[in-house]
């Protein structure tokens, strides 16, 4: 058993920027762990451009961005333990599987920065055949950019979140033809400029209001997908299907290990300090809620580092109030308010599951104390100000969306 001061699990943008910042603040007894054999996190396989603009004032590809972050961390003396998979958290002890055997650490402070994954086919309960050629954008990127493998010839993309654009670029890189993008909703799940780019520049049909009914094929092969629209059912021939988006936190280890889990966010409850209820645990990056852009996770990492620093210096005793949310809300954070924290809470950010008009309400002990009329898109965050609200211990707060 090794006692250390700070452990950061996950060497993606959030974990690495937190490590960099903590190092700058003078913390040396610090280890970063990642299960991969390379630091950098998810951007390692996002082979296209679109990273680094805010952090480094340069447009970088994902892999270049990942390399740069990892290099910065290593150059500043951050110790990164690779091929170390966190498998258990119990009584403050972290257990890792490593090629050198099981390793255990007992950190005083732990930051989870485990990232997120897309929802693959099973949790979407899709009818049809099973095949290794039914994949996610993340898998496609790893085929195309990391292994240089083209797994199939022509594919249909399911879902139209911004990440589906990544899927198109990755497919293009691999030489895979995209037959169509299909979206169940009546409009795409990202800014409509994307739709026009895809449709007119890339000449890929974007089929909204289109449901995936069945993946056809036998014997582990895909031959086509059946889709239904208002006009009826049709088949689109393809030999691969790419499910995109519906990001979900990589949080199973937290769900297994902690009693109090926030099922709305699929993550731990965290305060405005990014601090969990259990003593010494912090959470940052996409494992809080699903995917935001890398730069947001990078800045969140910096912020949580400062919070850890403050917590170590001032050691206040947290006084936590939980915030709950109804099922219209896809995620929100913070999900607790720490009344004793030196960082005063000003905002709660949230997103809705689908586009809707209506009002966001904040209920304090069942009584509405705040209301905001909104026209929300699932890919845009909504902020709720807290500054004028007085809170007491044991208050109960709930976020509600009521459509108009």
């Amino acid at each position: 058993m090794n006692n250390i001061q700070i452990a950061i699990i996950g060497a993606g943008p959030a974990g690495l920027s937190a490590a960099l910042e903590l190092k700058k603040l003078g913390y040396d007894d610090l280890l970063v762990f990642d299960r991969e054999d390379e630091a950098g996190g998810t951007p390692r396989h996002c082979g296209h451009l679109g990273f680094g603009m805010f952090e480094f004032k340069r447009v970088l590809s994902g892999p270049d961005y990942a390399k740069k972050l990892a290099k910065l961390a290593i150059d500043s003396g951050v110790n990164i333990k690779l091929k170390s998979t966190l498998t258990k958290v119990e009584n403050g002890v972290l257990t890792f599987s490593t090629p050198e055997g099981i390793k255990q650490y007992k950190p005083t402070y732990t930051l989870f920065a485990l990232g997120a994954r897309e929802t693959p086919r099973p949790d979407r309960l899709v009818s049809g055949t099973r095949s290794p050629n039914i994949i996610t954008t993340g898998a496609l990127q790893r085929f195309a950019y990391l292994q240089k493998i083209k797994p199939f010839e022509r594919a249909v993309i399911v879902g139209s979140e911004i990440v589906s654009f990544s899927a198109i670029m990755s497919a293009k890189h691999a030489g895979i033809k995209i037959e169509a993008i299909i979206e169940e909703k009546d409009e795409i799940d990202s800014f409509c400029i994307i739709k026009y780019m895809v449709k007119y520049l890339l000449k890929i049909p974007v089929l909204t209001n289109t449901k995936l009914k069945n993946i056809n094929g036998e014997d582990k092969k895909v031959t086509s997908v059946s889709v239904s629209t208002d006009e009826g059912e049709r088949e689109i021939p393809c030999d691969g299907v790419i499910f995109t988006g519906q990001f979900t936190p990589e949080s199973s280890i937290m769900q297994k290990s902690f009693d109090d889990f926030n099922f709305s966010n699929n993550s731990l409850y965290i305060s405005q300090n990014f601090q969990a209820k259990d003593d010494g645990f912090f959470v940052a990056g996409n494992v809080l809620r699903g995917a935001l852009a890398a730069f947001k996770c990078y800045f969140e990492g910096k912020k949580v580092a400062k919070n850890i620093h403050d917590f170590i210096r001032f050691k206040h005793q947290p006084e936590l109030i939980k915030i709950e949310a109804d099922e219209n809300i896809s995620w929100y954070y913070p999900s607790m308010i720490d009344l004793k924290s030196p960082t005063k809470q000003h905002l709660t950010a949230l997103r809705l599951k689908r586009r809707a008009k209506g009002a966001i309400k904040v209920l304090l002990n069942g009584r509405m104390i705040y209301k905001k009329n909104i026209h929300a898109f699932p890919f845009m965050s909504i902020n709720i100000p807290w500054k004028d609200i007085e809170l007491k211990p044991k208050d109960e707060i709930k976020l509600e969306f009521v459509s108009s």
């Binding site: 299960r35 599987s97 099973p122 309960l125 049809g128 290794p132 898998a139 493998i149 083209k150 797994p151």
Partner: protein, 469 residues
């Protein structure tokens, strides 16, 4: 960019025996039944070949089941099924440690969810006792809740079946085949038996590769049992495939139950089983849907939703957990409920067909039964008592990632190591297709379904296959 389709990753296997070799016995079909029969005959000293049309074992009914080792408490009394289930269970207990096979005695609860079902518990108990299963208890609502605090409060009463247990449905048959090969048995993958005739001395089977000669044929062709049986000249039964769809939940749900939750069987509706699996998940299913097709194992959204709804009713906390996988298995049911096991002495032909829904448990017992039917003496194989082991991939014992030197973990969700994947690609019993690789390692079977590892697994397998050409 290299085009690699996972479906064509593994080369077609060839057999390693001479064309004019005459075997004592040819077992057709490497499902769990064929694998167990192969082991038995090889151990007994018969010169045996296992003939399989797929490029790997377990490509038919045996690839997707609930993985419960049954006690036979609810088996149709005094049938061959009843006998073989109990004998199979006993045999499994005898050999499991030698083979490094997992076993977890979770026990099962047959739960009554309404008064009608409650009224049936006593009959089930009596049937169980009559079937020779002594360790049965009737539980009250309170007793159930103490054992299973997460179960819905609607549970009215239950029978506790002490013996019901969980095993790894893929490693067990793999071990059986390995044992057979160790005793000198031969195996012919990618050999589909197309036809055959008896030349007065022995059977000549035509296959999709080279012909196979054997004095006795044992038909264990599962979903194709009736078709293969036609080769002997008469057809005594018809296979009516019965699909069973499943929903598998993430490992986060694993501790929600302790025992296997079984339904009270009723005539109209077949209930849903909720159980842990050897791989650390929760399994919900299976359905029972008769169909024509012997290959169609597609899942249906509405059915999966229905399974989820039923499971949430019984185990409300399951709602908070993600679905890791959905799949369907096909039972080789026949036009009658009983096992279609028979011997035709004149034709030197044994049929082991219609092994519908208990084959995983009964296979070792069935194998002994078939050898007794066969009624021929051989000189016992000198290696019959030798141990062979298979790697443990279950959660019931330490796995490869807990032993150093594994390279790295490739599949993060299921903690599958590079060493495990490489080993699974090699040898006569190496993976023959992507499904076989999954069944030997669990790679890509977790919650991310390959988001993290599918590309890397493909690369590793490609290199391994190439290096060993």
């Amino acid at each position: 960019m290299e085009s690699i389709n996972l479906n064509h990753l593994f080369p077609t296997k060839t057999s390693n025996f001479a064309k004019d070799e005459i075997f004592d016995v040819a077992v057709v079909g490497a499902g769990v039944v064929g694998c167990a029969v192969f082991k038995e005959f090889c151990e007994q000293g018969a010169k045996t070949v296992l003939v399989e049309k797929a490029n790997d074992i377990l490509d038919g009914a045996s690839k997707g089941n609930s993985a419960i080792l049954h006690t036979g408490f609810d088996a149709p009394p005094d049938t061959l099924e009843h006998k073989c289930v109990q004998r199979g269970y006993e045999e499994y207990m005898k050999i499991k440690d030698d083979y490094n096979l997992p076993f977890l005695n979770t026990k099962a609860l047959v739960v009554a969810w309404n008064d009608e079902q409650l009224g049936k518990l006593d009959a089930i108990l009596q049937k169980g006792l009559g079937n020779g299963v002594k360790e049965l208890d009737l539980l009250t609502h309170e007793q159930i809740m103490r054992k299973e605090p997460n179960l819905s409060l609607d549970a009215k009463g239950a029978i506790l079946v002490h013996g019901e247990s969980l095993i790894d449905p893929w490693s067990a048959p793999l071990a059986y085949v390995k044992k057979g090969i160790n005793c000198g048995g031969k195996i012919a993958f990618s050999h589909e038996v197309k036809d055959g005739h008896h030349n007065g001395k022995y059977w000549e089977l035509q296959t999709s590769q080279k012909p196979i000669n054997a004095k006795v044929i044992i038909n264990a062709a599962g979903l194709y049992g009736d078709i293969v049986d036609k080769i002997k000249g008469t057809q005594d039964f018809k296979i009516i495939p019965r699909k069973g769809q499943f929903v598998i939940f993430d490992e986060t749900a694993y501790n929600l139950i302790n025992s296997i939750i079984l339904p009270v069987p009723t005539k109209r509706t077949k209930g849903v089983v909720i159980t842990k699996t050897a791989f650390g998940n929760i399994l919900v299913g299976p359905t029972a849907e008769d169909q024509e097709s012997r290959t169609d194992s597609q899942t249906v959204k509405e059915t999966l939703e229905d399974l989820k709804t039923k499971a949430f009713h019984m185990l409300p906390a399951l709602k908070n957990h993600k679905v890791t996988a959905t799949f369907a298995g096909l039972r080789p049911a026949s036009d009658e409920t009983y096992y279609r096991v028979s011997i035709n002495d004149e034709k030197n032909w044994i049929t082991a067909g219609g092994i519908r829904s208990t084959g995983l448990t009964s296979s070792l017992g069935l194998a002994k039964h078939i050898f007794e039917l066969h009624n021929t003496r051989y000189e016992k194989n000198p290696k019959a008592d030798e141990k062979v082991t298979v790697p443990n991939i279950s959660e019931f014992a330490p796995r490869d990632n807990q032993k150093e030197g594994y390279g790295k973990i490739v599949c993060h969700c299921e903690c599958v190591t590079e060493r495990e994947i490489k080993n699974a690609c090699h040898g006569e019993l190496g993976a023959g297709n992507i499904g076989g690789l999954k069944r030997r390692t669990r790679a890509m079977m977790g919650r991310c379904q390959g988001f993290n590892c599918e590309a890397a697994v493909t690369q590793i397998c490609k290199n391994e296959v190439k290096n060993h050409e």
